[in-house]
């Protein structure tokens, strides 16, 4: 079972940063310092939306050395499942929220000689905290940040002022400027690490190019927060809890399990970390594996499922929960 790490926090400020992007500052209720974290960490924010529990992961973007509060940035997603819309429409300064302790699935590899950060859109957030840490530690880094338009891109101006235009490069779709990935990959000193966070297509493209250029897996890092994809509703049986529950169109199995009052382990809620791996007791139907954790062989074997993002089609699925 997951350890309950929830912490109540107060929303200290809400700031409009760019088109469809809001920044939230969270502080502890009694003003006590929050736990320290490392650049790349995220928290899971729990929202009570009209009797419905929503939990979304957001990267921490404030300075890892400043425990007086955490800052997250939320992009209002066009086809929001509800989380980002709730944060944008309902959460005001002074409100209370519940967040998890910080978890880092996207850490800096401190053995590296140089760190290249590639951000697409809202994928900038983990890098803001990472750069604070890298610059304080005096490490070599550079940021390549792709934005749709200069008004959509959050924080690029501040970052350029703070770290210099030689270390923070902006590429704007509207100006037909794109990250020159091939050139970037070609001339980096041995021991360079590459980190990419952004839309799925960008991550896949960059990683693929890097592998083709002879970069080893160990030097490639990415973070993708998959929103659980919607799909046709289905029913599942939870063997240990002896319950049969329905999974709605816009609900993940994990969310349905939580709504039924059962505590299931999770960390990233985005198909990346493997924490919510659940054994399948029996199966009659087709699994839709949407995660990035299981290997192709494991997915084909059909013995386990990442319940945060994966779905199912068919008459019967019994989970060991």
């Amino acid at each position: 079972m997951s350890i309950n790490t929830d912490m109540p926090v107060r929303v200290a400020a809400v700031t409009e940063v760019a088109e469809r992007v809001k920044r939230f500052r969270l502080e502890s209720l009694d003003g006590a310092p929050l736990p320290f974290f490392s650049g790349g960490a995220h928290v899971v924010v729990s929202m009570q939306d009209d009797g419905r529990l929503r939990r979304n992961p957001y990267s921490l973007m404030s300075s890892p050395h400043d425990p007086s509060g955490y800052e997250i940035s939320v992009l209002r997603v066009e086809q929001s499942r509800g989380g980002s819309a709730f944060m944008h429409e309902h959460v005001k300064a002074g409100d209370r929220l519940v967040i998890s302790q910080p978890v880092n699935l996207f850490p800096i590899d401190h053995r590296g000689r140089k760190h290249i950060l590639l951000a697409g859109g809202i994928g900038i957030t983990p890098f803001i905290a990472m750069m604070e840490q890298l610059s304080r530690e005096g490490r070599a880094f550079e940021l390549h940040y792709a934005v749709r338009t200069r008004t959509h891109g959050a924080y690029w101006k501040n970052l350029q002022e703070r770290y210099g235009a030689h270390r923070v490069k902006i590429y704007c779709d509207a100006e037909s400027l794109f990250i020159p990935t091939a050139t970037l990959l070609e001339f980096q000193p041995l021991g360079t690490h590459l980190y990419v966070c952004g839309p799925g297509g960008m991550i896949d493209g960059v990683l693929n190019q890097a592998r083709q250029a002879g970069w080893p897996e160990q030097n490639l890092h990415c973070e993708r927060f998959l929103a659980p994809p919607p799909g046709k509703p289905f029913r599942i049986v939870l063997q240990r809890s002896q319950k049969e529950i329905a999974v709605e169109e816009h609900q993940s199995i994990l969310e349905a399990v939580e709504a039924a009052g059962i505590d299931a382990p999770f960390l990233c809620r985005g198909g990346a970390c493997g924490q919510c791996e659940t054994a399948i007791a029996s199966l009659d139907g087709v699994l839709e594996h949407n995660d990035h954790y299981l290997s192709e062989a494991e997915k084909a074997a059909g013995r386990k499922l990442m319940i945060c993002v994966s779905r199912f089609k068919g008459p019967e699925l019994v989970l060991d929960l």
Binding site: D109, G214, E217
Partner: protein, 201 residues
């Protein structure tokens, strides 16, 4: 290379040519030369145009593997007189190399460990380095008491070449030091160490 319950005991997975690498750097010692000639036979000679081979004969001098390496006609072939000379060249090469350079190391464990040490200093992840154990099983051993390193240890217990203690050679390995750990075996009753067994011929 026996299986060991000790997790730090290195496992050498063998040289496999990384088809995507833009530059191949081989650090070879003695019988380690055969790991490369084997790859050239099975993988074809194409990668050799982008390959630099740094070789030290060390214990295998009489077998003259440098001849077969030169016959492969890599882009560069260089033979070092001693391991420290080769390490200096590896350091110089790696410090100016770019990503896309694949490092391969083959030879005895002591040699692999020392080249790995250089690579680690330069921030290269050990899991991204291809290694193959060839030749003697002799170990490089660090005495945990005086910290002195004894090369080419083939038996356990061995005598520390620095402080003279009788050392049990463990599977416990330090990547940072590039050596196995040697621990005094007769501390309670000096002089009662069992007779050495040739475990690493």
């Amino acid at each position: 290379m026996a299986d060991s319950a000790i997790k730090s005991r290195p496992i050498y997975k063998g040289l496999h040519i990384n088809a995507h690498a833009r530059r191949h750097l081989f650090a070879l010692e003695g019988e380690g030369a055969l790991a490369l000639t084997g790859q050239a036979e099975s993988q074809g000679a194409q990668f050799l145009a982008k390959a630099e081979v740094l070789y030290v004969a060390h214990g295998s001098q009489p077998r003259a593997h440098e001849g077969s390496l030169q016959k492969l006609a890599p882009r560069t072939f260089w033979q070092a007189p001693t391991i420290p000379t080769l390490l200096t060249r590896v350091r110089a090469t790696l410090s100016t190399a770019t990503m896309g350079t694949q490092l391969y190391i083959a030879g005895t464990e002591g040699f692999i460990g020392q080249v790995m040490q250089v690579a680690l200093e330069l921030g290269i992840d050990p899991n991204s380095i291809a290694t193959e154990h060839r030749g003697s099983l002799a170990r490089r051993v660090q005495c945990v008491h005086c910290k002195g390193i004894t090369e080419n240890v083939t038996a356990s217990p061995c005598t520390c070449s620095h402080c003279g203690l009788a050392l049990l050679v463990r599977d416990h390995y330090s990547r940072r030091i590039g050596a196995f750990q040697g621990v005094n075996i007769d501390a309670e009753a000096p002089g009662t160490a069992p007779s050495p067994q040739e475990l690493f011929p």
